[in-house]
């Protein structure tokens, strides 16, 4: 329901259907018949935001209530933003076309650190004061969830309430409370005091953070009604929790445009670099019947011709051999393709391999993450060279000719030998192809090596580790290039400055709020996009605030240092993370959760239950 003056602008922008709304299955309500209006904001462009499963779940969850209406808001692209500012048009929600400042709850999902400046920009475009201290009326209340909330500190100047953990229950709790306080005519403070009493609600203004002279944290003190630590919320029964019956179907091509079946939450693997592997624990599975039914419903309601299964490591799903045939049974007849990301082909049965051959095959991807066995042990990536080569051989037999290998650079304990190991492993994959008598005739092999820069994250065993500087990473990238001799191997890696900023924001404290604000004022936005990222501006902002990136990124922290995210309780015990960190330095592995429970502590969030041990 776009207003006339907006429609005029749409003739002048790229991909106008980003801004029109009106997509199939979008929810239109009468605003006079609801008690609360919720703007779900994704701090990136439409194509990225519309691909996000969490948004689809919460959109559908809130709209299932009669007394609330949830709408979608995305960051406008540069061309549209310029026209909006020029014509004094505020950022609006796609369903009603109403401006952001007319909403009661304005919720952001913080999926990656480099989207933070977009949050500020969207608030500003929507007519809402960017700094929370300037917002005095009860509504709008600005809230945020998503993985980055596990260390929300750099964003506390801008956000009223953070919701660590899974949002399905706490969103409803918060909506109920805000409706009650709107009706009572409470003040903002009265509402926040009550909100802080709800489990899984973090109200940052109710905490004082004191610093030592060296910049580390001296103490964190809770006040008002706030608990000393905020425990993340989890959903205990995934079969019973709300899941959308349909998805909004975009007109334009978005990144993930298909039916998504959620398979489980959490992960059994315990790879030490992986934040998702820890912050989503404990592992909880959905039953295959429920997943199948949910995929069926969404496919019928959208007309999508593809189903994708979503979880951190889908082949670890205990019922995968039951689920796949269930889906194939109806999907293939209807020309619907089933794609399985995050698969470890090695532990598949031959029957399942046969089933998989029925569908279109995509490229083959492995993620050894590190080039040598020593380093793979240190990061607890329990994959051996033999696994990789055996699976590659199997795949070449089956007709594949291109393989993608994912690695990381800058891992703790890494040396130049480990970097050379990346090139060596890629070369062995090439050799495996040419030594295979059954190789596809007349075809060469293509091995693409993609190297991400490792960024230490909170709630992982590497949360105390120094991150490689940009110079160190560039040296390693050069070493990798010079270690690669075959023309069958192509190497790609990330820009190192973005990794530095990501690392700083990931482990930052409250003082970074000022830096983010200044960077945004200087024009920083869409920092995760190479064409927008402007590190010199960020450097200026750090200098003006007398802070350095080195303090946050490149410093080794002591085990007993108070960390900014110590306010949060994600179930994982700090002692467990310390043990894992020590084992990493000894290149010792930890078996995955189904082989042996390592007592990480996350199961206490779920009354002692964990599906890895059932």
């Amino acid at each position: 329901m776009v207003k006339k003056e907006v429609e005029k602008l749409l003739k002048k922008v790229q991909k106008p259907a980003r801004y029109t709304g009106g997509e199939l299955n979008s929810v239109i309500k009468d605003k006079n018949n609801v008690k609360l209006r919720y703007a779900f904001c994704f701090p990136d462009n439409y194509e990225i935001g519309m691909s996000h499963l969490g948004m689809k779940i919460l959109y559908s969850l809130v709209n299932a209530r009669e007394d609330a209406w949830c709408e979608r808001v995305f960051a406008p692209w540069e061309d549209m933003e310029a026209l909006m500012r020029e014509n004094s048009i505020k950022l609006y929600a796609l369903e009603s076309g109403d401006n952001l400042d007319e909403f009661d709850l304005v919720g952001f999902t913080l999926q990656y650190e480099l989207s933070y400046t977009n949050v500020l920009n969207m608030l500003d475009l929507g007519g809402i004061s960017v700094l929370k201290k300037d917002r005095t009326s009860l509504t709008p209340i600005v809230i945020a969830g998503g993985p980055c909330v596990c260390n929300a500190e750099p964003m506390v100047d801008f956000i009223d309430i953070f919701l660590p953990g899974e949002g399905e229950e706490v969103t409803n709790d918060l909506i109920d409370l805000l409706i009650e306080h709107k009706e009572k005519g409470s003040t903002r403070l009265e509402f926040l005091r009550e909100a802080a009493k709800i489990e899984g609600v973090y109200v940052p203004e109710f905490y004082d953070v004191n610093y030592n002279e060296d910049g580390t944290i001296k103490s964190i003190e809770n006040k008002e009604t706030a608990p000393p630590k905020v425990k993340k919320r989890i959903i205990s029964d995934l079969d019973a929790v709300h899941y959308p019956k349909d998805f909004v179907v975009p007109f334009i091509d978005v990144v993930q445009d298909r039916t998504v079946g959620e398979v489980f939450r959490g992960c059994i693997r315990g790879c030490r670099f992986c934040q998702a592997g820890f912050i989503y624990r404990p592992i909880r599975e959905k039953s295959p019947e429920v997943i199948n039914e949910q995929c069926r419903s969404i496919s019928d309601a959208t007309g999508y011709d593809e189903i994708s299964l979503c979880s951190l490591s889908t082949s670890d799903y205990t019922n995968i051999e039951k689920l796949i045939p269930m889906l194939f049974n109806w999907a293939l007849k209807e020309n619907i393709n089933v794609s399985l990301p995050s698969l470890r082909v090695d532990n598949f049965s031959d029957e399942l391999m046969e089933e998989l051959k029925k569908v279109r095959r995509s490229g083959l991807t492995f993620a050894p993450e590190a080039g040598t066995q020593r380093l793979r042990d240190a990061i607890n990536k329990n994959v051996t060279e033999e696994d990789v080569l055996k699976t590659a051989l199997k795949a070449f037999d089956g007709g594949w000719t291109s393989v993608k290998l994912y690695f990381m650079m800058g891992l703790p304990t890494e040396t130049l030998d480990d970097i050379k190991g990346i090139a060596d492993l890629a070369q062995k994959v090439v050799d495996t192809f040419y030594h295979n008598p059954n190789k596809p005739k007349g075809k060469g092999v293509q091995v693409s090596v993609s190297c991400a820069s490792f960024v230490p994250k909170p709630f992982t065993p590497f949360q105390w580790e120094p991150q490689d500087t940009a110079d160190m990473l560039i040296e390693k990238q050069k070493h990798l290039l010079s270690s690669t001799t075959s023309r069958k191997i192509t190497i790609s890696y990330h820009q190192s400055d973005t990794s530095v900023l990501e690392g700083v924001l990931a482990r930052g404290d409250r003082r970074l709020g000022e830096v983010i604000y200044k960077a945004w004022k200087k024009g920083c936005k869409f920092d995760s996009w190479d064409e927008f990222f402007d590190f010199p501006k960020w450097r200026e902002a750090f200098n003006e605030c007398n802070l350095t990136t080195e303090f946050y990124a490149n410093r080794r922290r002591d085990y007993d240092e108070i960390l900014p995210w110590d306010i949060m309780d994600y179930g994982i015990r700090k002692e467990f993370l310390i043990d894992e960190n020590k084992k990493a330095h000894l290149s010792e592995t930890t078996p995955h959760c189904r082989i042996k429970c390592s007592a990480c502590g996350a199961n206490k969030l779920n009354g002692g239950k964990c599906d890895a041990r059932s």
């Binding site: 003739k11 002048k12 259907a17 009106g22 179907v249 019928d300 011709d305």
Partner: protein, 227 residues
Amino acid sequence: MPEVKKWAMDVRMSFQKTGMAKFISHLDTVRCITRAMKRACVPIWFTEGFNPHAFLTFAMPLSLGFESLCETVDFRLMEETDLNELAERLNNALPVDITVKEIYIYETSPNDIRWAEYKIIFNNPDNLLLEQAEKILSSNEIMVLKKVKKGRNKVEKEVNIKEHIKSFELENENGKLVLKTILSSGTSTNINPMLLIGALVKDTETDEQDVDIIKVQSYTENMEIFK
């Protein structure tokens, strides 16, 4: 071996694309209609290659930003189907601004399209625009820069589009200037009305983007309505 026809009916669907649907590009429209077919359980024929896909033939792609009252798409049905009921089912599965008018058995080919009629509304015309437009449209030569293919590349070439304007009618309507015109259309020569609009507003204050363009009708060589 005689070729066996694997489908039951060859049908054409005529539809309108109005309102906000003008901002859906041609490729996105194709995808949107394909998905609607699936939602409405239309027994459509799929191609039989390694990547089977719904077989749809659109008569003419419509430019982004244009509305149209006369779009068509041809497809094949695997079984005998009540076409009125099918149209209703599809309408329920389509976004509001894309509306099925009729589904029918066709006799013409999209290649028969030769002309298209447009209604062009200048929302905020300059005072001089009516006079200038009349003069230009009545002259013997209307030169515009048109992108043409030259081998693999596209180059801009100055062409006279006068012979591609079959008729025109200019009218003032509540401060807006409305141009109804019939232009060459189809696979051999296609004149995008934006070319003409650019020529008409040249050197005036009229914003060429503040214009509504509605494709009203397609015609064959003999000026019969394409159906």
